[in-house]
């Protein structure tokens, strides 16, 4: 597709449930980022992939959060035992990667609501 695609656009889940959020990056982009944006806040970094590997997962808040990118394209953010505090918009971005700076393009996000 032309841009970064995130599905679903909205997700409502009950406290304690497991959720998966999907990110389909721009074709050919090797770098992929996940961010979380809580109400009234700026996006907060969660994890960065270069290819299939997580190059930096220092932003994941705890071990309930996990992300994969098995084939170096689509990525899935997984949240176990969801809590009401996990409610936020989860943003994905991709960039061409490689050496030096390359511009990151953002998807429209998945709004997660934990009730």
């Amino acid at each position: 597709g032309a841009g970064v695609s995130q599905t679903p656009s909205n997700k409502v889940t009950e406290k304690g449930k497991y959720v998966e959020l999907r990110c389909d990056p721009i074709s050919g982009h090797t770098a992929l980022y996940w961010y979380r944006q809580s109400l009234g806040q700026g996006p907060e970094f969660l994890i960065y992939f270069q290819g299939t590997g997580a190059a930096d997962d220092s932003g994941l808040p705890n071990d309930r959060f996990f992300a994969v990118r098995p084939e170096g394209s689509v990525s899935t953010l997984k949240i176990q035992r969801t809590e009401r505090g996990d409610s936020a918009v989860y943003l994905c971005a991709s960039s061409p990667g490689g050496g030096g700076y390359t511009e990151a393009f953002f998807g429209q996000g998945t709004r997660l609501t934990v009730v």
Binding site: G42, F45, Y48, Y101
Partner: protein
């Protein structure tokens, strides 16, 4: 600790008036600097960026920003605001090495009055 501060949570400007949104950063070395805009229902869009060289950078939609090293600031400006500029604006920084993530400020909401 590294941080990005946007002191103004909400600003209202009359259509046609000038705009300045403030951004200060605290970093060990001068990072890459960015401004993003987020409109309702839209993804984050890059307005402009500063890496080096001329400290006044031009971006899309008529925006510009000035880097001031002595003040650790990167303020966003527009000479004449349009109603369509109403949105959330985020200042962001990135370390000067490959593969690092953007660190965002908390954002400034811009409202435009007629």
């Amino acid at each position: 600790a590294q941080s990005v501060t946007q002191p103004d949570i909400h600003i209202t400007v009359s259509e046609g008036a000038s705009l300045e949104l403030r951004c200060n950063y605290s970093y060990g070395a001068t990072p890459y600097l960015f401004w993003y805009v987020q409109s309702p229902g839209q993804g984050l869009q890059l307005l402009l960026k500063y890496f080096s060289g001329d400290t006044l950078v031009q971006g899309i939609k008529g925006f510009e920003a000035e880097f001031k090293r002595s003040q650790s600031s990167f303020n966003l400006r527009k000479p004449s605001v349009h109603w369509s500029d109403a949105a959330e604006y985020f200042c962001a920084v990135m370390e000067r090495q490959a593969g690092t993530a953007l660190i965002f400020g908390k954002g400034t909401t811009l409202s435009v009055s007629s």
